[in-house]
C-alpha cells in the first residue's frame, strides 16, 4: 500500500513538474502531415522534404499522408476534425483561400476549424508562351488581345486553381477579353502551351524553367510584386504599368482550430528552423521557390488578406466550383 502511494506520489509530482513545459513541447510522438494533393505534386515534395528535416532535427517520426480529392476539401476536413495536439497537421496551398468563395458549402469552417501555423514554400507564377508565338513581350501579348478580343487563349490547371485566378486577374488589370482553357492539372496545360495548342499560361517556375532554358517557351512576365531571383530579366506585371498585380503560389502549414497558441509558436519555430537549413534553401531556390516565411502573426494576416482578395475576384468573375 505504501509503495503504491509513493509510486503514485512520484508520478503525480513528475506530472505536475512537467506540466508547464509540456504545453510548448513538440513533437511528443509521431506527427502526421496531411497533404490534400496527389503524391509527386510540388506540395507533396515540399511536405516530404520538411518532414524528413523535422524527423532528423527532432528524432520523432513525421509521416506524410496524401488525402487528395474534392479540391483539397477531403484532406483539409480531416485535419479540421483532428485532435488539436500538434500531431496532425495540414500542408495545403492557396486553395485554402479560394475554396470559401468557390464552394457554396465546405465541410469545415475556414476561420474556426483551422488555424495558420506558417508559410512553408512560395513562388511567383511566370507567364509563358511557345517560342514560335508572335508575342515577344507582355505588351505585345496585351496588344494582340486588345486588337482581337476573345481570340487569345490562356490555359490553366483547372477551374478555380491559382493559374485560373491569375488568368482572371490578367484579363481584369489589362482590360482584355481572354479565353480561359481549363485542363485537368497543370502539367497537361503546360504540355499544350509548350506545343502551342494554347497561346499562353501562368506556370510554376519549376516546370517552366527547363523549357525556357531549352528555348522552347518564352517568359513574358512574373506574377509577384518584385522580380524573381529565378528570372532576374523578366519584368513584373506591375512594373509594366498594370497596377496592383500579385499572384503568389503558396503552400503553408495549418493546425486544427483549437490548438494552443503556445504550441503553435513552437511548431512554427521548428518548421522555420528546418526550412532555413542551407541545403533546403538551395534545393528550393533552384526551382524558383522560396522556403520559409514571416512570423506567425504576419502569416495569419496574409492568409486573411488572400482569402479576401480572391473571394472578391472569384465573385466578380462569377467563378464557382460546385
Amino acid at each position: 500500500m505504501f509503495r503504491l502511494h509513493s509510486a503514485l506520489g512520484t508520478a503525480l509530482a513528475v506530472l505536475m513538474l512537467s506540466q508547464p513545459a509540456m504545453a510548448a513541447e513538440w513533437p511528443t510522438g509521431t506527427v502526421t502531415i496531411i497533404v490534400p494533393y496527389t503524391p509527386g505534386n510540388i506540395t507533396d515534395i515540399a511536405a516530404r522534404i520538411v518532414a524528413q528535416k523535422l524527423s532528423e532535427s527532432t528524432g520523432q517520426s513525421f509521416i506524410v499522408e496524401n488525402k487528395p480529392g474534392a479540391s483539397t476539401q477531403i484532406g483539409t476536413a480531416e485535419v479540421a476534425r483532428a485532435e488539436p495536439d500538434g500531431r496532425t497537421l495540414l500542408i495545403t496551398g492557396a486553395g485554402f483561400a479560394t475554396n470559401p468563395a468557390l464552394f457554396a458549402e465546405l465541410p469545415y469552417d475556414t476561420d474556426k476549424d483551422l488555424v495558420p501555423v506558417g508559410l512553408v514554400v512560395s513562388n511567383p507564377l511566370v507567364l509563358v508562351t511557345a517560342a514560335d508565338k508572335p508575342y515577344p513581350d507582355f505588351a505585345a501579348l496585351v496588344d494582340f488581345a486588345k486588337a482581337n478580343p476573345g481570340q487569345l487563349t490562356m490555359a490553366s490547371g483547372g477551374n478555380g486553381t491559382l493559374s485560373h485566378m491569375a488568368e482572371a486577374l490578367t484579363a481584369l488589370v489589362t482590360g482584355t477579353e481572354l479565353i480561359h482553357v481549363p485542363y485537368k492539372g497543370g502539367s497537361a496545360a503546360a504540355t499544350d502551351t509548350l506545343s502551342g495548342h494554347v497561346d499562353s499560361m501562368w506556370d510554376n517556375p519549376s516546370s517552366a524553367m527547363p523549357q525556357i532554358e531549352a528555348g522552347r517557351i518564352r517568359p513574358l512576365a512574373v506574377s509577384s510584386a518584385h522580380r524573381s531571383d529565378a528570372f532576374p530579366d523578366v519584368p513584373t506585371v506591375g512594373e509594366l504599368g498594370h497596377g496592383n498585380f500579385e499572384v503568389i503560389n503558396w503552400f503553408a502549414m495549418f493546425a486544427p482550430g483549437e490548438t494552443d497558441p503556445e504550441l503553435l509558436d513552437t511548431i512554427h519555430d521548428q518548421v522555420q528552423a528546418a526550412l532555413e537549413l542551407p541545403d533546403v534553401q538551395e534545393r528550393f531556390a533552384k526551382d524558383g521557390v522560396t522556403a520559409g516565411g514571416p512570423s506567425r502573426s504576419d502569416f495569419t494576416a496574409f492568409v486573411a488578406a488572400e482569402t479576401a482578395k480572391w473571394g472578391e475576384i472569384i465573385r466578380a468573375n462569377g467563378i464557382h466550383a460546385d
Partner: protein, 499 residues
C-alpha cells in the same frame, strides 16, 4: 556509332550490381501488385516515393520504371485466371485470356502473354534508343482536336470488341459513357450526377468499375451456373505449341507497332493500344469467330501492344519532361525530389541516367520473363483451388483494393453495386468490355472536344481542317461503315450467335 556509345554508357549504369538489384526489386514488386486486384502501380509508386529520397537518381528511376512495366505483366495474370483486369490495358486480355483459361489453356495463355510482352518490350526499347528524340516531337503534334478524333476511332473500335448483338454493344458503350460523366465538369467545375455524395465528387474510379463488372459479376454468375465451372484436363500444358507460335507471331509484331506508336501520345495512348490491337487482329483474322472464345491472337496482340506502349510512354517524359500519364507524372515527381528537373536537357546533361534507364528496361523485361515463366505453373494451380476458398479470397482482395484507393468504405459499397451491375449485364448477354471502354474514353472525348472547340472559338471545322485529326475521323467513319454494312452485319451475327 553514337548509338553504340550511348548504349554502352547505359549498360555500364544499368549493369552495375546495385542497379540490377533495384531493377529486380522494381519488376518483382510490379508483378506482385499487378497480380493483386485493385492495387495499381500508381498507388505503389506513390507509397514508395519517400524511400527514393535516400537513393541515387538512377537507382530510384530504374526501380520505379520497373514497377510500372512489371505491373503490366502482372496485371494480365489475374485478367486471364479469374477475369479481373487490374489495369485498363488488361481489360482486353481478359476477353480471350479468360476464355482460354476456361478451356484449360490457362498456362498457354499466361506464357503467351509473357512471351508477347517480352518480344514487344525488347523491340520498343530498341525503338526508344534509336528514335526517342524524334518520337518525342510527335507527341506534341497531338492537340485537343487530334485526341478527340483518336478517341472517336477508339470508341467505334469498342463496338467491334463485342460479339453478339450490335445494338447491345452500342447500349453498353452508352451506359459506360454515362457512368464516365459522373464527377466535376472540367470547364465549369459543376458537379454532375454525384447526388451530393462526397465519395463521388471526383467521379468513380476505373478500378472499382472494372473489379465490380468483370470480377464480381463473374463470380456471382459462376455461383449460379454449376456447369460453367468445369476446367478440362489439359491444364498441365504450359507452353504454346508450334501451331500457337505460328498464330501469334504476326499479331505480336502488329501489336508492338501499334503499341509503340500510341504509347508515345500523352493522355493514355498506351491504353488505347491494347484494344486497337484486338480490333485489328479480329478484323484481319481468318477465324474471327474464335475471338471472344479463346483466340490466342486476342491475347498475344494486345499484350504486345500494352507492353510496347508502357515502354514508349517514357519517351515524352525522358526527352521533353512531358508526362504521358499519371505514373509518368509521379516519376517526374521522383526526379524532382532528386533535384533533377525533367526537360529537354536531361538527355544531354545526364546521359548516364537517360541511357541507364533505357537499358534497364530491356534488362527488366528479361528478368520479368525469367521470373514469370516458372511462376505460371503456380498460378495455374491457383484456379484449381475449390471455389468456396477461391471466391471469398478474391472478394476480400477486391474489397481491400477498393478501400485502399482513397481509404473510404464508400468505394467498397460502390464495388458491391458494380458487382450487381456486372451480373445483370451478364444475364442480359451484354459484354462488359465495351462498357469499360465507354467509361474510360467518354470523359476524355468530351474534355478534348470541348477544349478543341474552346480554343477555336466554337468552330467545329477544326476537326476536319487539321490533317491528323481528319485522317483519324475518316478512319472512324470507315470502321463504322464496316461494322454497320448489312452484309457484314449479317455474317457477323451468324458467326457470333452460334454459342
Amino acid at each position: 556509332m553514337d548509338i553504340f556509345a550511348n548504349l554502352l554508357i547505359g549498360l555500364q549504369t544499368a549493369g552495375s550490381l546495385t542497379n540490377l538489384f533495384y531493377c529486380f526489386v522494381g519488376v518483382f514488386l510490379g508483378t506482385a501488385i499487378g497480380v493483386l486486384p485493385g492495387l495499381g502501380p500508381t498507388a505503389t509508386i506513390a507509397i514508395l516515393l519517400p524511400i527514393t529520397f535516400t537513393m541515387g537518381p538512377e537507382n530510384a528511376l530504374i526501380m520505379l520504371a520497373g514497377i510500372y512495366y512489371g505491373a503490366q505483366y502482372g496485371g494480365s495474370t489475374t485478367a486471364i485466371l479469374v477475369n479481373l483486369p487490374g489495369e485498363p490495358s488488361s481489360v482486353v486480355t481478359a476477353i480471350d485470356g479468360y476464355q482460354m483459361a476456361r478451356k484449360g489453356r490457362a498456362g498457354v495463355a499466361l506464357s503467351t502473354a509473357a512471351i508477347s510482352s517480352f518480344v514487344a518490350g525488347t523491340i520498343a526499347t530498341l525503338l526508344i534508343a534509336l528514335f526517342a528524340p524524334i518520337l518525342g516531337e510527335v507527341a506534341l503534334k497531338f492537340g485537343p482536336a487530334e485526341y478527340f478524333s483518336l478517341l472517336s476511332l477508339g470508341l467505334v473500335a469498342a463496338l467491334v470488341l463485342a460479339h453478339g448483338s450490335l445494338l447491345q454493344a452500342f447500349g453498353t458503350v452508352i451506359v459506360g459513357l454515362l457512368l464516365g460523366l459522373i464527377g466535376p465538369d472540367v470547364n465549369s467545375g459543376v458537379q454532375r450526377f454525384t447526388f451530393g455524395i462526397t465519395g463521388m465528387q471526383d467521379g468513380i474510379s476505373f478500378v472499382i468499375v472494372a473489379m465490380g463488372v468483370f470480377g464480381l459479376g463473374e463470380i456471382v454468375a459462376n455461383l449460379g451456373d454449376e456447369s460453367g465451372r468445369s476446367v478440362s484436363g489439359t491444364i498441365s500444358k504450359m507452353l504454346p505449341s508450334r501451331e500457337d507460335v505460328r498464330r501469334m507471331a504476326a499479331p505480336v509484331m502488329r501489336g508492338t507497332a501499334l503499341g509503340s506508336l500510341l504509347g508515345i501520345l500523352p493522355g493514355g495512348g498506351a491504353m488505347l493500344a491494347s484494344f486497337a490491337s484486338y480490333t485489328v487482329e479480329k478484323k484481319l483474322s481468318k477465324r474471327p469467330d474464335e475471338f471472344g472464345k479463346g483466340a490466342i491472337e486476342g491475347v498475344a496482340g494486345p499484350e504486345a501492344a500494352n507492353n510496347a506502349g508502357a515502354q514508349t510512354a517514357f519517351i515524352p517524359m525522358l526527352t521533353l519532361g512531358v508526362p504521358s500519364n499519371s505514373i509518368m507524372a509521379l516519376i517526374i515527381g521522383a526526379m524532382i525530389i532528386q533535384g533533377i528537373q525533367p526537360g529537354p536537357s536531361v538527355m544531354i546533361e545526364q546521359p548516364a541516367l537517360f541511357w541507364g534507364v533505357i537499358v534497364s528496361m530491356w534488362i527488366g523485361n528479361l528478368m520479368l520473363l525469367v521470373l514469370n515463366l516458372p511462376m505460371i505453373g503456380l498460378w495455374v494451380r491457383m484456379i484449381g483451388i475449390p471455389y468456396h476458398f477461391l471466391f471469398p479470397a478474391i472478394l476480400v482482395f477486391c474489397a481491400i483494393g477498393a478501400f485502399s484507393l482513397s481509404n473510404s468504405t464508400f468505394d467498397v459499397f460502390l464495388l458491391a453495386l458494380f458487382g450487381v451491375v456486372g451480373y445483370v449485364l451478364r444475364k442480359l448477354d451484354c459484354e462488359p468490355a465495351p462498357l469499360l471502354l465507354g467509361f474510360i474514353l467518354g470523359p476524355m472525348m468530351e474534355e478534348n472536344l470541348r477544349r478543341a472547340l474552346m480554343i477555336n472559338r466554337g468552330d467545329a471545322t477544326v476537326l476536319f481542317t487539321r490533317p491528323i485529326s481528319c485522317a483519324l475521323l475518316m478512319g472512324a467513319v470507315a470502321l463504322l461503315v464496316m461494322v454497320l454494312l448489312p452484309s457484314i452485319r449479317a455474317k457477323r451475327d451468324v458467326a457470333f450467335q452460334e454459342e
